[in-house]
């Protein structure tokens, strides 16, 4: 348990700091790289929660696909690869206040409602059982049985997004 807690603390710290850098750095490319760090930490957190398939997808799709997309976007819009001074707009303070306020409210709510609730320990559960219950196979089963319809809808959505992106980005 302690090991897990230490791992969580490190990952959470890294994720938070990297996320803060994402929204504060003055270099667009750096922001994308910090984002990679955040995403990777979050992926590792998923492993802590025994969700290895999600962790894998997180790494593959986010870091492999989305960040690459971002980098392409940065390059295509010919942003300066270097320090820029005016990446933030003039309502930074309002944004900060809003964010902090929101954080306060959320924290309050979460502490009120979950308090000291523990995650159910997985120590007593055997590896086989765990895999059978919530492993990649179980997730796959669920997707193709219980959540088949949403899955199909998501596919259509992806297709639509694809078509939309092409239409929007087309040069003529």
């Amino acid at each position: 348990m302690i090991a897990q807690n230490i791992a969580f603390a490190i990952l959470a710290l890294v994720a938070t700091l990297a996320a803060l850098r994402v929204v504060t750095t003055r270099n667009v490319v750096h922001a994308a790289l910090y984002l990679v760090v955040v995403l990777a930490s979050v992926g590792a957190l998923y492993v802590l929660l025994a969700a290895e398939f999600v962790a894998a997808v997180q790494i593959l799709i986010y870091i492999g696909a989305i960040v690459v997309l971002f980098l392409f976007g940065i390059m295509l819009t010919r942003a300066t690869i270097g320090v820029e001074s005016d990446l933030d707009n003039d309502q930074r303070w309002i944004a900060a206040i809003t964010g902090l306020f929101l954080l306060g409210v959320l924290t309050f709510v979460l502490v009120e409602s979950f308090g000291d609730d523990q995650l159910p320990g997985l120590a007593g559960v055997s590896r086989e059982e765990l895999t059978a219950q919530r492993g990649t196979g179980a997730v796959g089963d669920a997707i193709f049985s219980t959540y088949l319809v949403p899955f199909e809808v998501i596919s259509v959505l992806l297709l639509a997004a694809l078509v939309g992106a092409i239409v929007l980005a087309r040069r003529d």
Partner: protein, 102 residues
């Protein structure tokens, strides 16, 4: 481990994302901030799922997967829009984009 560890981390990431969405000028950076928000949500989904037992854990993971997928789609479309704006106005500065001004 406490449930709240994960949930609070989610809340922190969420609020950072909100700040980014509100404070950033560059369209690409705003999209990145949105990714932060989505990740925060994902953490919540997976964590809350595993509180409730195996079935819910699977449900949480599946939902997280869907969100990842939608995030990909959203980035695709979002970047396409940013590109289009850039092409038309030679800038990705969202302050300049005020077509909805009354």
């Amino acid at each position: 481990m406490l449930v709240n560890q994960f949930l609070l981390l989610g809340a922190v990431l969420f609020c950072i994302g909100v700040y980014g969405v509100l404070a950033r000028r560059n369209g690409v950076l705003v999209l990145m901030s949105i990714e932060l928000i989505l990740n925060a949500v994902n953490i919540n989904l997976v964590a809350l799922g595993s509180v409730q037992g195996p079935e819910a854990a699977v449900a949480g993971q599946v939902f997280a997967l869907f969100v990842v997928t939608i995030a990909a789609a959203e980035v695709g479309v979002g970047l396409a829009i940013v590109l289009l704006i850039y092409r038309n106005r030679s800038t990705v500065d969202l302050d300049e984009v005020d077509l909805m001004k009354g």
